[in-house]
Symmetry: C2
Subunit: 445 residues, 2 copies
Amino acid sequence: MVCVGASCTRTVHRLCVRGLCSPSYPEDQDPTRLLLQLCVDRYYVSPGEANKGRFQRGVSCSYGPLGAELHRNLLRQWWLSVTRSKARVFGLNTQSIGGDRATRPGQLRVVDCDGLTQLLNRRDLSTEQLVQEMKSVLQMSSPVRTNLLQGALEQFVPSSELVNRKLPFGLAEAGLCFQPANGSGCRPAEVTQTSLVWFCSPRTSSQWLDHWTRQRLKWWRKFALFLSDFSTSEVLGEDLEEATTRGVRITYDFPWGKETLETLWSRGESELLQIYGGERSKLQCRDGSKTVPHVVSMTGNMDRGVLAFLSNSFQQLKSDDGKQKLQHRKVLKLHPVLTPVKVSLNISRGATLELRQVCEGLLQEFLEADITVWPGYLETLQTSMEQLNRKYDEMGVLFTVFISETTLESGLVQVRSRDTIIKETMHISQIRNFISRYISAADNI
Amino acid sequence: MVCVGASCTRTVHRLCVRGLCSPSYPEDQDPTRLLLQLCVDRYYVSPGEANKGRFQRGVSCSYGPLGAELHRNLLRQWWLSVTRSKARVFGLNTQSIGGDRATRPGQLRVVDCDGLTQLLNRRDLSTEQLVQEMKSVLQMSSPVRTNLLQGALEQFVPSSELVNRKLPFGLAEAGLCFQPANGSGCRPAEVTQTSLVWFCSPRTSSQWLDHWTRQRLKWWRKFALFLSDFSTSEVLGEDLEEATTRGVRITYDFPWGKETLETLWSRGESELLQIYGGERSKLQCRDGSKTVPHVVSMTGNMDRGVLAFLSNSFQQLKSDDGKQKLQHRKVLKLHPVLTPVKVSLNISRGATLELRQVCEGLLQEFLEADITVWPGYLETLQTSMEQLNRKYDEMGVLFTVFISETTLESGLVQVRSRDTIIKETMHISQIRNFISRYISAADNI
């Protein structure tokens, strides 16, 4: 890897090793701009300035096919990590609007506009009556959730029966939450949150916070190319009343500054007591002696997570295999487990029906092994191998397979690796296992 | 299997073979009541009459740990089936509120109640001004989506570039959609929808509708115990204008009547043209000749799907191993792939530390193989083996493993099957593979 920043003199700078180090970028080389454009061009994010803006703000946007798959993969990994970590983590699926929480205060609410408009059109009401009617309709309407914590706390009692009221245990959920608009012209935003709410005895809550902080940071770093971009910092209690409250943020160091990916809080018992009307007897659990559990909450933003991993894996490298003109090779080195497309299947020009049939067979094999495939052989536009490789590198495709006339004779195919750009020849019967093993090896590091 | 309906004379009646056939039930034996209560007792659905009501209506409710897992499994199977079926199905992830669709009409909208209340509290406005202001705020607010189709149609152009504008291809998405309240006192409901939108040439759209109808019915029936409960029926076009419109419903025959699980429509081209302002050139794709694609949509309700599979798999059988008194054995015979807990790990009374350690090891093995485990060995309440089996049958646990002192000596464990109630003895080193193979075999039928 060679640094492309002409004026850069450092050799181990974090942006430098990615080819993103120039202290003053010409506008067309600003790494943030380049990354966002690449995400739109390569089907991670749907086009449109407003949509790109949401994406960069770390709230839910309209994802393209590759972004949707990355999002899915990330959520699945989160789920596996929290549910596999302990025998006593259970999943939940609570409602995002209203439900039994109608009396809960909430700034954002879902209203029936037809009903409100009808009310506004009534001529028989005085201003005062109209205001009263409007207020009561708004008050009766369903609040939308802003976090998943509340739902988990409400499920505490039924869930605790599941483990015979024995501590510790956890409730996990992932889903959409809503945020009020911040500023005029802005619309309410939606965020894909992950939540693990951990119920433990008061005397262990501080240790659990430390335990989970290590676990969660380890999880984020597992998929990172540059580990130091992910870090933790202690936060002071905000509006949580207890003095014992402690919090930790896991942040990602974006080119434009640090942003929070996940927040962990040791929250004490007060919120649980509030929900259950202070009835301590309802809440008592066993961990040696009887006790009202303390709550450790972990709330992650997986939309910002998607952005963080895209940013972390984005590299701009001097292309070595360029002939005359020096080219910058842009590549998304997403972790093998996360990257949306694991392998692309391609055929050389002048493709025959037989070559396509070979591809179809291989495609089925991959799909059955749960390996996502890009059917490059279906494309009818003539593109050079360099163009194809450039496209697949920008998409983050892990391996590119070329099927040619030789394959029909000898069964040999060419496999190019995104990360090493080495081209290997191997027998067609071995590819599936080769790629499966490569991905599991990366998963188990 | 013996029918428990005292007054039933039929032998092959669909409710009869499940022990749910009595023409006039005493209230405590009504199969719907029994099923709903079992779902609450066994952690499928959170308690509360309102929540049970939503569950039975087939809209999203608050699910307990087992329900959440069943819901996840069903969505995952749907995803695998649509994305594996063809190389050219791509995932999407669009927004559930507002986004770029602010100008779209919508009855349900998310509003900032604090802002509206402030407006209502202003004393300086005349009634007319207030009404005008309120209306404009409502009009500017973000509509929530009622289906996923609209989002997919809006993503048609960027997605078509992905396949070089070659037909056919499909866009798949699963997510929450919202429904206006139907009747007073009711709140807006949310539904977990699945959507596959298939773009094809006009001359093939009718064949594709037939193809997908077969595929989708096959998918629903794949996980069913009683196939005939799932059926299809043609529907007449509702508000779709074209005369060529055809629709098919996939329904489930609940004890209280047929309800729709999924609807397939051959929708023509009109909605696409409307979104893109009638610009045919923007929409033209190739399938032999150039053409504006026709749309075949498939919209499923996975909340009702969860209810359908629970209902389909629920059986009440005369217990044969009862001693004096005749007992009814209630069991959820959920498909091995769907059932939330595949195996429970238990130890006999007087458990030693060594037995627990064996369980911990086995638990890790199962978790690594992605097999969900119920850690029964952590329970400290003394329960008989009959009580345990009854509980696990009602939870739909596929296999119950008993570790005993014998295991420490010989490595042998007892494995009980939910479906055959046969107890087998096998070596502890074989269980994981045995269960994995059992589940994959069921998956591949």
